[in-house]
Symmetry: C2
Subunit: 282 residues, 2 copies
């Protein structure tokens, strides 16, 4: 699988780079970004934080707005930011043009419904294809953590709980924590997976956490003034209750006054990076 | 002059807010952003860093991408980011639709040529109207510093040198340091100021630094891999030579491998904020 480098910026003593490649599981060309900390220039293999972004985002939003590179450079962690859906020529979008289904809104599932099942297999892309590509081409170790925001927070929690042997820790900002029971999740799961809600449970963090056997270190930050939280799209309490029922030790921090924006993430990303580093090599 | 608050995000324990207001000197409605650090919630009056952005930017780019709030919160400094030109209904744009003249490209001058002289008076806006507005409405002291990037680096250096009593220090990233002698500056100055190059000198930092009497603390960061630097748009060396001729103690740091992007600024903005704080209250 060849990679094409399309941009390169020095930052925080390391390098932010964007690559394109053919994705077999998504059946289209994809772009992702990687931050390589300065330690890699000296030949060191570093652990990787996979970052999953939210609705409408690409690989760029987090890299440009979260201010994560400064601390990743200090800690010696690479960051990989994929796109949020398949994209490009021939990839179907929501005919209604909504922001919360289709392009930019892959919800990190493997679609089973036509026509979405031709390209919308973000679960396989994030779990298998992308890490294999990253580990084949960059100076990284097999230590992995995963985090994300909103739809990407859902993706991070869900993927980590289904693949606890692949990640040493997981965190999320403002995750869609119970997608089966919120408008965003119901719309996406109906479209990608069909109307049998039994098949939705494998992608719902509040369902998964109730039955999880291997328990990963898990940190969740949620702003109290987040409109989507207030409107019931995120359902942090459902996750908290399900975790408690299974004695899953998730740390959920309600952050007073913060909203759903990158201004919130930029405030606490340092905590998340330090949290993940604490759990590498254990 | 009433202000209308149009957005508010908690970040780094403080507040990022956007406001609109009628500008008398620009003869249009304008938007700016302010970051108020947590110290202001306790009633403390804080110094202000004015940040001038580059071509095509608005008040948003720096606030979203530089990661400055974290350190401004620690240091107790407010940041004010204005727009880069007059804007909105009735404001002329370059009929050719270029990115380097007209909207988003005010160059921080007072235009003398029609039709630009109806609105394009960014010099007066930044020097007088905006600080008066900020100081009337927010818990800030009369301690001011100024910084900026590219076209905004030109604006910061030029405005500080012409108004040394109003600022305690000045800094710039990748400034257009000798606009009279580069394609960007020549195009803008011809359009806004006419063809008499004598009138251009009052807006050229390399001219101003040669004659400056009051010498402000001045810090400039320039990336060695900045394409615009390599193409001759920035002319850092001309500024350095003119400063030397007048014994103006500017610190110019050539930063190896860095380019013209926000990834560069995000790397060194902490140094700039600490530099300005060192010179407040002296």
């Amino acid at each position: 699988m060849p990679l094409e480098n399309i941009s390169c910026n020095k930052t925080a003593g390391g390098w932010h780079k964007q690559y394109t490649h053919r994705s077999e599981v998504l059946n289209c060309d994809m772009r992702f970004a990687i931050f390589l900390p300065p330690q890699t220039a000296a030949g060191q293999k570093v652990p990787v934080l996979y970052w999953l972004s939210g609705l409408t985002c690409t690989d760029e939003n987090f890299m440009q707005k979260a201010g994560a590179q400064r601390i990743a450079a200090e800690l010696g962690v690479a960051i990989v930011a994929p796109d949020t859906s398949p994209r490009g020529e021939g990839v179907e979008d929501d005919p209604a043009g909504s922001y919360d289904f289709g392009l930019g809104a892959g919800f990190y599932v493997n679609a089973t419904e036509a026509p979405w099942n031709r390209h919308y297999n973000m679960y396989d892309y994030i779990v298998n294809e992308l890490p294999a590509l990253v580990e084949a081409h960059f100076p990284v170790s097999d230590q992995r953590a995963i985090s994300g925001h909103s739809m990407g927070g859902h993706g991070a929690l869900m993927i980590a709980m289904r693949n606890p042997e692949r990640f040493s820790s997981v965190s999320a900002f403002s995750p869609i924590a119970n997608p089966m029971n919120c408008p965003w999740g119901q719309k996406a799961f109906t479209g990608y997976l069909g109307s049998n809600t039994e098949t939705w449970k494998q992608y719902d963090s509040s369902e998964l956490i109730r039955k999880a056997e291997k328990k990963l270190p898990m940190l969740v930050d949620q702003g109290t003034h987040d409109n989507f939280y207030i409107e019931g799209q995120l359902r942090t309490e459902t996750l908290a209750a399900a975790a408690k029922a299974n004695n899953y030790p998730v740390e959920i921090r309600m952050q007073d006054g913060y909203d759903h924006s990158y201004y919130f993430m930029a405030t606490f990303i340092e905590d998340h990076l330090r949290f993940h580093v604490e759990h590498f090599n254990k």
